[in-house]
Symmetry: C2
Subunit: 224 residues, 2 copies
Amino acid sequence: MLVAVDCIIFGFDGYNLKLLLIKRGFEPEKNKWSLMGGFVQSNEKPEDAASRVLRQLTGLKDVYMEQLSVFGKPDRDPLERTLSITYFALIDIKKYEKQLNDDYRAEWFQLERVPSLIFDHDEMVQQAKQKLRYKAALHPILFELLPEKFTIPQIMTLYEQVYEVELDKRNFTRKLRSTGLLIKQSDKDKENSKKGAFYYKLDKAAYTEKFTRFLNFISNPEYE
Amino acid sequence: MLVAVDCIIFGFDGYNLKLLLIKRGFEPEKNKWSLMGGFVQSNEKPEDAASRVLRQLTGLKDVYMEQLSVFGKPDRDPLERTLSITYFALIDIKKYEKQLNDDYRAEWFQLERVPSLIFDHDEMVQQAKQKLRYKAALHPILFELLPEKFTIPQIMTLYEQVYEVELDKRNFTRKLRSTGLLIKQSDKDKENSKKGAFYYKLDKAAYTEKFTRFLNFISNPEYE
DNA sequence: CCAAAAGTGTTCAAGCTACACCCATGC
DNA sequence: GCATGGGTGTAGCTTGAACACTTTTGG
């Protein structure tokens, strides 16, 4: 049996949550949109294959990545029985922009505008979105999508995008600060407003320490 | 590459949370304790393989089962490169008792008394325990471990076992009732006390409807 | 009548929701 | 000087935690 990995890669540009897709360069389904994937080599762990694939496409390593699940219907690939292990990755879209590998004709798509994908990749994306919501309601993983310095309005927009809700900025700010994960900087981002919004950095030590604690950023979402 | 499934099977006998293991009947590692597993056949989805394997061992079908993750280190099986997809299953231990298939020399082990297992199966069990805690803090899956009629002290013991904590019965009862998942019966279980404890059944409709909602049975556990 | 488990209520603290106004600045 | 987005505080309510006594009945 062939074993592949497919990566569901999320990015955030400050306004919208996006997905990185490639235009498939070979048959079957040549020129259709697809997730970035590759086969697990004989000397490789599946997670190493996923990191390798991600690095090939984006040039990035040490990216937040998590195993999602296995897709294994006997006929999911029409040519040959192939099992796919999916991984979802969260990357800072700005870091990536410079390193884009043009060989793959990759593009970012807003989540609402994702085209239909080959094989069972649509289902993979659905599952990844769900998992992202589930996980981000409990753990501070969305910081992985942000640049080193970010503002509170930015994070709030991110949460609003992920959950497709509108949040109250007073309550959100209070809750966010109460996590103790943020370090306020003295400079401001003035791109999005005249007054400017203070930058924050993530307190890495607190992040590591509190990662596995319950956070409850979003109350009573529907969980999968 | 060979692809196998391995099942982490949990059961509850009213007092202790248990794990079902088999004594391996073939080389390598013959006569060592192991999870029940099997290879994914060419016409089979992995989840079907898992159900099949579970049915072979226990005679049960329509069991609560969930994909856990993939274990894929190149050398995890010393003979041949084998990928394993793990599933965890929750079964009512009483239903099972009658149907035990003796071919596999299976035994239930209390979680604290699980022997060391072949290959990376120890790690699989660890992961399954963690996932069980995570999931059961948010969703009412532990009912899958109980018989059709059960008492509140039984469920409470089950939660105490899963999380290795002591709970307050007044608070627990109130929280449990507030879920609207239980239907009180008029008869009592008199096996465990003279006064007897009322039986309850699960309200199947409410269970299905509320499954994906946040429940928060356990406050602030450490999540994985 | 007594031992053993089942069942039940109240008080306090913390956290969540809803909600409206002032601030700083570029144009 | 005004439009735009950033930033802050309070009151009411809900939820969770802590805690002790009464009930039932088999032996």
